[in-house]
Amino acid sequence: MTQSRVLVIGGGLAGLSATMRLAELGVHVDLVSLVPVKRSHSVCAQGGINSVNAVTRQQGDNEYKHLDDTVYGGDFLQHQPPVKEMADWAPRIIDLMDRLGVPFNRTPEGFRDQRRFGGTLYKRTSFAGATTGQQLLYSLDEQVRRWEAEGRVKKWEFWDFLEPVMDDDGRCIGAVCQDMVTMKFKAFSADAVILASGGCGLLYGRSTMSMICTGSAVSRAYKAGVKYGNAEFIQVHPTAVPGADKLRLMSESARGEGGRVWVPRKAQDARDPKDIPVAERYYFLEERYPEYGNLVPRDIATREIFDICTTDGLSVDKDRLCVYLDLTHIPRETLDRKLGGILEIYEKFQGVDPREAPMKIFPAVHYSMGGLWVDYEKSETGGLLEGSPRNQQTNITGLYAIGECDYQYHGANRLGANSLLSCIFSGLFCASGVIAGAKKNTRDETSPDFVSAVKRQEERHQAILSRPVGDSNPYDIHRQLGDIMTRTATVVRRNEQLSQAYDEVCQLENVWEHCSLSDTGNWTNQNVIFTKSVGDMFPLAKLILKGALLRDECRGAHYKPDFSMPGIAATEPAEQKAEAERWCDRFEENTRKWLKSTIGVHGDDGHPVITYEDIDTTLIPPRPRLYGLVGGEVIEQVWKERSEKATEPVTVG
């Protein structure tokens, strides 16, 4: 058989690891990316990558617990077999990255050092300073360059993915892309196509994401018929540094290394933070969550920081919302060795040395747990069947999705340091299945399917370029969209706001239809590329808003105060018990109703059609997520009794 040919869209951790493995298995890869792959958004990941390791294993840790932390942290919204497989692979993935030369921090004896991250009690996180994503990406970039030198990989950098192309049977046979320098269109014929295009944070205007994280590739696949899962689950990272152009991430590793979050007990205390005595500081995460402290899962830390500033009015500054993230009690030398990269970012962009003064931080949009729907094939042991073409395949045969752009691993909330793992895992793991499912595609670019797709894209492009001069421009529209989304679909969500936002977004989409370009040329026209990507933000924005509107519950990052389940108010033990019983009844009812993946399909009228799919929870039965809830121990007791009853062996007699 002739060499098969796979098209990979996106050169971050997922795209590069898939490319490396495919090339190794003898496949020719065309790698398309908006930027030189070494500049992909994965470089922004800071804190580290999770796996069970030799030390935690001896402390009672195992892959099952990594799975459990991930699904409990994710509020049980993910299918468990893929997560199990990922947790099982994690130690091997860290070993591999170690062999590729990633400069992981070391212990005095020369072993890899680990730190603790949110949502776990074990030190599972391997790290390379505070630039782990950059280091992991570079190692994969180097391996892919090696394959490129051998002619197995061809990179198409500064190219924009426009649409997947399907044959008459609905099988994906390639894609149309555009050269962002010459503005020429080209059809890519392939035996399979893998989307690894990352998140969609830019539809929130400013976020912690790079300017390339527009979600346009994903939106274009969605418009072409790929299902989208759990759109409403958007992670808002608790700690970012607000800026005019971007909200810069301040890694969770700052807390993993002992950083403490606090506000002065007196609102807007004007004293220098170092002059405020400990008794007058409110370490609210530590007080409210004694077990996890500053390392509660991200959705919880975010809500608490948001709440302490808005509801309690304890923001450090008067004119902008922020809390202190304090590292000043940690020795300088330790900080430089373990967190140097992120402290430099703070120092450079804020002009303040975080080793000397507490940082001022606030939550920011950070990650999309949702993404393109992908399939999997379960193995007998409850994980995945390696080599199955179903793994990571979307509902369009031959079209795969991996990394942040799939919906599969993080449920309703992602744990810190699990994203780098899911990206590398899905990339490496999917390769054998992609090859097994690949069907030799004999069509070349001149076949009618490709010719008509290219023509369609050229026409869309020309139509946008030839719009009459109008008042609105794409940059303003993008800013407005970001404002609407940030106001209504982040930390706290309310139905009336969401439904109003949906209407506003639809109106704004109409404005976009008529916005005019300031550049109508045909050479490196960044204006038209951006305009198209803004237009493609609307379908995803509508998906997020609609999904959030319909989901009347609280789960992970999706928080609706009107449907929250408060803790136990009673003080009498008997009343507490009764209240806990009612709480558990309601929890069970809610689980029956809402423990389902939200599935969005692009409707012909431009509006999403939402349905729900059951979730495979056969490995770990769903249980209440009780981090810090008042009366949580009573609820836990009642829940335990119920579960024991449910699993009691039935006596046959």
């Binding site: 958004h41 591999l96 590729l100 070391r106 630039t131 490129e148 005019a244 152009d245 060795r337 940059y475």
Partner: protein, 292 residues
């Protein structure tokens, strides 16, 4: 900033007086590779805490030059905006640096009220401030900047590495391939290969790579060669790297101007790497002489 002694003047908002109302930006523009370049002026309202990226974003949104003419937005490259992707290197007030980490308030200490932006001069202009830096990656391929692993299957962990070795290697691994060091280097000259009429993209690219292959590698690639030669597994193909370092366009091109280390935004000890590479090259040449 106002010092404490002047703040005794009552009822005055001291900041107001000193803060400029607008930012005047001079941009050296070029519409396409073989076109002439030209200056264009822009004026945008001043806001506190801006960086050059947000200045360029405002210019794009306004899309008008200072004299009110509608002009196409300035083209430039950017991605992460936190100095880790390496995209946005340009000449800002004549100095090679990253647009994202260049804060307007700091630039105003050099030239109050004004900012001058030019594309890097050692790389071919694609358009305006966007340049073709493919040569950076060509150099990385020439020095085989990778660990030559057998495959990506499980073979257990990598070699044991002491904290000292890790701390020695780590700064070198933070190179963002921005090109600032090449821009500042007097020995690094611009190579511009122009596509011929009727030449296919593949042929053009091949011709470009061949032209790059003969020229100076640049400080970043020398530093990466040192990095991989010092890695226990990486050193297994150090011979090939030494060949590249001692071949045409290799380390002997370095004139020890030390500009590279002065402009590196990541403060990578490039001259230390170059010194190490120089010593290794000498040893390697002698060894090769006796091995003949």
């Amino acid at each position: 900033m106002i010092s404490a002694s002047t703040s005794t003047i009552p009822e005055v908002e001291p900041e107001e007086k000193r803060v400029p109302q607008e930012i005047r930006v001079r941009v050296l523009r070029q519409d396409a590779p073989s076109e002439e370049s030209y200056w264009q002026q822009f004026a945008i309202p001043y806001e506190p805490n801006m960086n050059v990226i947000s200045v360029l974003q405002r210019i794009a949104a306004i899309a008008k030059s200072q004299d009110g003419r509608r002009v196409p937005p300035v083209a430039w490259d950017c991605a992460c905006l936190e100095e880790v992707c390496g995209s946005c290197a340009m000449l800002i007030n004549g100095r090679a640096r990253m647009a994202c980490s260049s804060l307007v308030d700091n630039l105003f200490e050099e030239t109050p009220g004004e900012i001058e932006l030019r594309p890097l001069t050692k790389f071919p202009v694609v358009r305006d401030l966007s340049v073709d830096r493919g040569r950076i990656f060509n150099s990385l391929e020439r020095v085989k900047a990778w660990v030559p692993v057998d495959d990506s299957y499980d073979h257990g962990p990598g070699p044991r590495i002491s904290p000292e070795e890790q701390e020695d290697a780590y700064p070198l691994t933070t190179c963002i391939s921005c090109g600032c060091c090449m821009e500042a280097c007097p020995q690094f000259n611009k190579i511009e290969v122009v596509q011929r009429e009727g030449e296919t993209a593949d042929d053009f690219d091949a011709r470009k790579q061949t032209a790059y292959d003969e020229q100076f590698l640049g400080p970043h690639a020398i530093s990466q060669a040192v990095l991989f030669n010092s890695h226990p597994t990486g050193s297994m193909n150090s011979d090939e790297r030494m060949q590249a370092l001692t071949g045409r366009g290799g380390i002997q091109m370095c004139g020890n101007a030390q500009n590279c280390v002065a402009v590196c935004p990541k403060r990578i000890p490039l001259t230390r790497s170059i010194a190490r590479a120089g010593r290794a090259a000498t040893v390697w040449a002698i060894k090769k002489f006796f091995d003949r």
